[in-house]
Symmetry: C2
Subunit: 433 residues, 2 copies
């Protein structure tokens, strides 16, 4: 356990604003484009980004076995492949180097000029090349809400839900970093009471408040990962907005699951916060009743107390926090999700991403989607400016934030913020079509 890096009393010689998500105890990993148009792997302290590629070239990681170009890459995949021991050595070394008591770099202005950037000098990129993306459905409250709305209120949870961390495959190619605008998608929908579908822009675009974890190479094809070892293969977590088009999804999803209602876009926060940084915020998962099958049983504190919030901001309008939830509400832990995912021998690679599913709590203000917040349109959400929302409107920006807080230490994820653009103006239909 990296005790030193997590010591809440440590300070950095880089200034850290009060309530920053990025004190020296965080040390997240990301990829950014510098002012010189160079792509590099980096970390962040306060409002400064640190170029790890240059830091390595300058010799500051010389005691750690790393290839010369490990940080001079446009994704974290190779670094993540190096494994947990290496991640820890690098994080601990960064914690040491930027500690206020350390003088190695603190007064070397020529080196500092090379490795330090203010946040407005850089552009955050997608941190990993995502090979496969899986989305789980692990909030009992969310699954219950959906069951109440669309199936039987008295038997809201499906029979398999308490036995399986239900999940499905998503689309990697449309996962984009915070800041990338999203287009309202077109698709087929079925008008109420009709039996012929119509084509047009989705009328029910929604957000889903999720988190996602990123894996390292975990197993060989055909071999499972034990639930008690699964966390060793998890590099870290990001905030995840799983954009959804409810009307498209509703018509398409039986029997093979959501497809075009989901794969037009998902947005992530760009800094991956490691499990090591989250260690002080471990909590128990909800009690599981009935007890799951043996391959899904584990003891101890398998979840994390991460406060989550969602804001809706109309174009030129004021922000409204419409949801306050928490990662600890998840019924199934990440370790259980990963053990289940590989119990059939499914191969997991470096850079794979696994979403939690929408994270809803028990109270209506903790529901993680507009579908639940506005209860299928029956209880519109009133924004601070007086407008109402049953779904996301054109030019709304959806911002999700997440942070842990305990004993004076705050570790956060920053935010994922993305704007919904109006649907494309499709050309008139061609002749003969």
């Amino acid at each position: 356990m990296p005790i030193k890096a997590n010591d809440p009393n440590r300070k950095s010689w880089i200034p850290v604003p009060e309530n920053s998500d990025f004190p020296i105890q965080n040390i997240p990993f990301g990829v950014f484009l510098t002012r010189d148009d160079v792509i590099t792997i980096g970390t962040r302290i306060g409002d400064h980004a640190i170029d790890l590629g240059s830091l390595h070239q300058l010799g500051y990681f010389k005691d750690i076995p790393l290839t010369d170009d490990i940080f001079l890459q446009d994704t974290l995949n190779d670094f993540i492949s190096d494994g947990k021991k290496t991640w820890r050595l690098v994080r601990n070394r960064i914690a040491e180097l930027f500690d206020v008591r350390n003088e190695e770099l603190q007064h070397k202005d020529d080196h500092k000029q090379i490795v330090l950037f203010t946040m407005d000098e850089i552009e955050m990129q997608l941190p990993v090349q995502i090979g496969d993306y899986t989305d789980f459905y692990s909030s009992k409250e969310h699954a219950t809400n959906i069951g109440k709305m669309f199936r039987d209120p008295d038997n809201a949870l499906l029979p398999n839900w308490l036995h399986i961390p239900v999940g499905y495959h998503g689309r990697s190619s449309t996962i984009v970093p915070s800041g990338t605008p999203i287009r309202r998608p077109y698709g087929q929908t079925i008008p109420k009471g009709e039996d012929q579908p119509v084509f047009g822009p989705s009328k029910l675009v929604d957000f889903e408040l999720e988190m996602a974890f990123i894996t390292t190479d975990a197993n060989a094809l055909g071999e499972p990962i034990d639930v008690t070892e699964a966390e060793d293969y998890i590099f870290g977590l990001v905030l995840f907005n799983d954009w959804s088009a409810r009307d498209i999804q509703k018509w398409e999803y039986v029997p093979l699951g959501p497809f075009l209602g989901k794969n037009f876009a998902s947005s992530i926060s760009p800094w991956i916060v490691t499990l090591d940084a989250l260690e002080p915020f471990r909590v128990q998962s909800p009690k599981q009743e009935p007890q799951p099958l043996p391959y899904l049983r584990h003891k101890g504190n398998n979840s994390f107390d991460i406060h989550l919030e969602v804001d809706v901001t109309p174009e030129d309008g004021q922000s409204t926090t419409v949801c306050k939830s928490n990662f600890k509400y998840m019924y199934w832990s990440m370790a259980q999700q990963l053990a289940h995912h590989t119990v059939n021998g499914c191969k997991v690679n470096s850079g794979d991403m696994m979403g939690s599913g929408t994270i809803s709590g028990t109270t209506p203000d903790s529901f993680g989607s507009m579908l639940e917040l506005a209860w299928q349109g029956t209880k519109p959400v009133t924004l601070n400016g007086g407008e109402e929302r049953k779904s996301v409107a054109d030019n709304d920006t959806i911002t999700m934030r997440g942070y842990c807080h305990k004993n004076g230490l705050r570790i956060g994820f920053g935010e994922v913020a993305s704007k919904l653009l109006p649907a494309l103006d499709l050309k008139a239909p061609k002749k003969n079509k």
Copy 2:
């Protein structure tokens, strides 16, 4: 249209056995490991593989704008990114160079020694790095059979099926080339009449006879591909065995679709046959009634007459052809699948793979899965050795073949053959678990 390359009367100076899938009119693309342990991109004529990397280094593609290392790669992704015009130039040039009337290379023994390999000197690899894999469900006969077995025999097709090329996301990381053995997967299943699941090896492993197409970079995020242009973004096709564990799938798949019942493995044939090579075998798709929405309408011959067969071969036993089907039975065309997939702006990249779904015909001997052939276990399939099968048995090898044949010209895919190994012998459960 590459008339010359497809001329059925042309012969190669490389010997081509009678009934070979790989005459000079085919020119498929693949990736292989040579006798010198070098990975290269290549093609095949008769029983010889041709190293395109060396051919390019020797100057035989000098009139085509190609980067120097385009064939010296371990995947075809970059070549596929070069686009249709380049694929055609390269295929036409190979057709010219190996034509019996061409003397450029035919008598240069030193060059031939470098570029030609017999098939037993090489090892075929996965031809592309698959970014995203989607599986469709586009055979009306298959969807109807499944509906009859598991839902209502009188309303076998679900309401959306005739309007949407139904599809779902699959797992890229477990797609393996022909020859890779597959492990019988473990998982949760629900015993008949019980309400508590059990854990163990799947008892109902099945094959699914499919084909899959491979795309090039097709669009920007947020932009659709027109159905009339969709084929321009399809590089070619392979045979696809979508291994399935029916008992795992049955318990897990509601409401988000198949997951662990599918993602333990899918097997593909290693040579990608281009749409240009398949051009002479175009046929009409089945008539679509009702007419689909305008974005899915296209005219002309949008399918291909590809004969498909599946053999089951027990360990040390004789082969039995259990299924004869045809790609032309597909209700939805590849162009419709790709147009639908992108109508919401979903981004499609070079190396993405899209499976057809199980290809069943109308007669029982044309059903593309053991589930349908043995009609849910009620009509066991008798093999030539006298054994019966309701699903795939341990150590069975499943071999799928595909070829077109018309006016004396045969263009084929070779085969995808893979053996089902027994389930892993899991260690005894740990204490306290």
